[in-house]
């Protein structure tokens, strides 16, 4: 008996599915569901732009409204991926322009985006609404001018930590006077001064503007003017937070801030002059997000601020906050979910601030909803890690960076294996983990045994032998992203777990002990993987097969090997005559 819902009903049901995982599962049920689903999928996320090619995507999903792509591996953020490696947006934009004329949203992360790409975007999509570029590079303010000039229905333009060739601030003036749909503008990473009157007029004619992140070139004196024009703001990134101390500026700032009843998130605060901090104290109880990670102000000021933020959910701050400030945080901010503490002086071996493991322990004790941690500090102990684990079994992200590589437990001088072991044992929903400090293979045994939900793992200067890598690859069932630097992991573990690599998005290994020969073997035997060796040394062909490669990036793909590589990147084991 054939029984099925009419197509319209199925389509209606599927329209409630927003998660990709759900949609992927639905499409596997049967042919008709696959067909139905592919016609009504509206958002696509491609975590590795080389895992698939745009033609395949467009063929399968013909009516997409939003595309999100990621390019370079995460370690590119720390200059480990040489310039020219790849991640070019243009080939994708060309195909998408052809295939999705009604596309509304493009989000790109760690990709090389040219002005040409931006111009193409601005002219190809009549209903284009959202452009978010995170950690991208390769474009100039000319490309931004094209977006401003041509995207009549633009709602969101966000540049997050991009490297932009800043020719001038004139691009902002290209938004036509008839353009009133702006909801979110983030230009925080740009250096050039934009015309303030153009900015003022843009804000004035954007009644739906909810997010405004200024760049450092916007002086503090101008902030009250902007705030008066946009009291409906929900997220604000200040420009430079510095000026000569004038009482009239103090009071106008205070007044302007107090008018913004909806303001929930604050960031910016470059060049902070502490005298102006009290201007936003009245906002503190309403804040849910506060990014003070550029505010080079000392602990007493920071403590005063956080103590008033009773509804704070996410805090990003420099280690100037010190243990005392974090203690205050733990007592005042019971809704805290995410904490990121950045180092003020990362290259100095000796502590310049009184921030130790104790700060994080306090927060773990006092903040019952704490889920996500990024913490840079100079000392840690197994007992502190165990305390944190027991206090907060609900942790989902735990990224600890002890600044000195291979630093042992500062109390016992032992490796930190048992401490991190406690973390994975108690925090059963841990999805992301970054390790640091002195670690032996034992920590990886713990991770392989307990971290069953772990999705992303970052390892540096850790482990003794291939056994460490083997524990991780064979034990972590949910692992999708693994990035490793400076660890003694070699061929054995990698080859023994070759199958595992096809279940993951990618594996990065640099300054490890994987040989050219093993890479070649892996590439030959696993057609579903691209095994890229990234090695900038001269005379590569004369290096023996059993010598270690500099860097290795392995990812699964249905697009085959790529052909846009520079000379120092080779896909191993394919029919590659350049390197035998």
């Amino acid at each position: 008996m054939a029984y099925s819902f009419p197509e319209e009903v199925l389509e209606h049901v599927f329209s409630f599915l927003s998660s990709e995982k759900d949609r992927n599962a639905v499409s596997l049920v049967c042919k008709s569901w696959y067909e139905m689903e592919r016609w009504c999928r509206r958002r696509i996320f491609v975590g590795n732009c080389y895992a698939v090619n745009p033609k395949i995507m467009i063929r399968r999903f013909p009516e997409v409204k939003s595309v999100e792509l990621k390019g370079k591996p995460h370690f590119a953020d720390f200059n480990l991926v040489p310039e020219g490696w790849g991640g070019y947006a243009y080939p994708w934009i060309v195909e998408i322009a052809r295939g999705y004329p009604w596309l509304e949203e493009i989000r790109l992360k760690r990709m090389v985006v040219t002005d040409e790409s931006l111009e193409l975007i601005s002219k190809s999509f009549k209903n284009f609404k959202v452009l978010v570029l995170s950690s991208c590079e390769g474009f100039s303010t000319d490309g931004l001018a094209a977006i401003a000039a041509n995207c009549r229905n633009l709602r969101v333009l966000e540049l997050r930590e991009c490297e932009v060739e800043d020719l001038s601030g004139h691009w902002l003036s290209h938004f036509p006077d008839s353009f009133t749909s702006l909801e979110s503008l983030n230009m925080g990473c740009l250096n050039s001064e934009v015309s303030f009157s153009a900015l003022e007029r843009l804000v004035a004619r954007s009644p739906n503007l909810k997010t405004l992140r200024l760049n450092r070139a916007v002086p503090l004196e101008k902030l009250p003017t902007l705030l008066q024009l946009a009291p409906q703001l929900v997220e604000l990134g200040t420009g430079s937070y510095s000026a000569e101390i004038r009482s009239d500026l103090c009071s106008s700032l205070l007044e302007a801030f107090s008018r913004c009843k909806n303001l929930k998130g604050l960031s910016g605060f470059w060049d902070v002059v502490p005298a102006y901090l009290p201007a936003f104290y009245s906002m503190c109880p309403r804040l849910t997000f506060l990014n003070l990670s550029y505010a080079t102000t000392q602990s007493p000021d920071l403590t005063k601020i956080v103590s008033q933020c009773h509804n704070l959910q996410r805090l990003w701050v420099l280690d100037y906050i010190e243990d005392t400030g974090l203690n205050a945080l733990s007592m005042s901010c019971k809704d805290l979910q995410e904490l990121r503490v950045f180092p003020s002086d990362p290259f100095v071996a000796d502590a310049n601030v009184l921030l130790t493991e104790q700060g994080l322990v306090s927060v773990s004790e006092g903040c019952p909803k704490l889920q996500s941690v990024l913490y840079f500090c100079r000392q840690f102990s197994n007992s502190a890690l165990t305390t944190i684990a027991k206090n907060r079994p609900n942790l989902t992200t735990f990224r600890l960076c002890i600044l000195e590589p291979r630093a042992p437990d500062y109390l016992t001088f032992e490796p930190l294996d048992s401490g991190f072991g406690s973390i994975v044992q108690h925090c059963k929903n841990l999805r992301r983990l970054s390790l640091s400090g002195l670690l032996t293979d034992r920590v990886f045994q713990h991770i392989g045994t307990h971290a069953k939900k772990l999705d992303m793992l970052s390892i540096a200067f850790a482990g003794d032998s291939d056994l460490g890598l083997h524990y991780v690859l064979s034990g972590c069932e949910s692992l999708r992203k693994l990035e490793i630097r400076d660890c003694p992991f070699g061929d054995k573990a990698l080859l023994a777990n070759a199958d595992k690599l096809e279940t993951m998005r990618s594996l990065w290994m640099s300054s490890c002990a994987v040989s050219f020969g093993a890479c070649k073997v892996l590439g030959q035997k696993m057609p579903g993987l691209n095994v890229e060796v990234i090695d900038e040394r001269e005379n590569l062909d004369s290096i023996p097969h059993n010598s270690p490669v500099e860097k290795l990036y392995i990812y699964r793909t249905v697009a085959g090997e790529r052909f846009d590589m520079p000379h120092f990147v080779r896909t191993m084991g394919k029919d590659n005559r350049r390197f035998k």
Partner: protein, 219 residues
């Protein structure tokens, strides 16, 4: 600690791999002898690096095109055998062409963040406009040559990335694979004289320094 594994792909893998038995793959049987450095855990804790060299007794110079392994025979004990495995530590010293820090990308903080912070500290919180220049962050580099005593290869270091002797010596020691306790920093000033760096305040040093040399401090 030995790796006790059946080194083969699972039988449920794709058919093209089913014949493949990794037990046949053994790095030691490939041509050439690997020259790895081994480190003991205790030595690591004491921040000492002791490597066993190969049969060639003379100190190896490390030209740019050599593989990553760092061989230094100066501390070799007579009885050591390259194949003797006291611990299973393996350390690859990562060479970075022309990079000022011995360790790229550590600590893992985005360079844009470092630059913005650096900018604020150097310019002492002056308000108003950015520098209007290219947004790649590097406001000014101050590269000087640095040599390790006894090592023919000179490196370069960007002094503007450092604010104290601590961070500079730490970086340089790492660059040359030494412990910072084992080295002293000397510099050549504008008159051509070689002086001990830590004798003068950091500011004066920064104004006068032309080149750097690390010497062994075991005298």
């Amino acid at each position: 600690m030995e790796l006790q594994l059946a080194l083969s792909l699972s039988s449920s893998s794709s058919s093209s791999c089913s014949q493949f038995d990794l037990n046949d793959y053994n790095p030691e049987t490939l041509q050439g002898k690997a020259t790895f450095g081994f480190m003991k855990t205790e030595d690591l804790l004491n921040r000492k690096v002791r490597v066993t060299g190969n049969e060639d007794e003379k100190e190896l110079r490390v030209p740019k095109t050599l593989p990553l392994l760092f061989c230094n025979n100066s501390k070799q004990d007579c009885g050591d055998d390259v194949n003797e495995v006291e611990s299973t530590f393996l350390f690859i010293n990562h060479k970075n062409c022309g990079d000022e820090n011995g360790m790229i990308g550590w600590p893992p903080v985005k360079s844009s963040r470092n630059m913005k912070l650096c900018h604020q500290k150097n310019h002492g919180g002056s308000g108003g406009g950015g520098d209007g220049s290219r947004g790649d962050g590097r406001s000014k580099s101050m590269y000087v040559k640095v040599q390790m005593e006894g090592d023919g290869i000179a490196r370069k270091v960007d002094l503007n990335l450092h604010h104290s002797y601590h961070s500079l010596v730490h970086t340089l020691a790492h660059m040359f694979g030494k412990c910072k306790e084992d080295v002293k920093l000397t510099y050549q000033d504008k008159e051509g004289d070689w002086l001990l760096a830590t004798d003068v305040p950091w500011g004066l040093f920064m104004e006068a320094v032309q080149r750097l040399k690390l010497v062994r401090s075991s005298y």
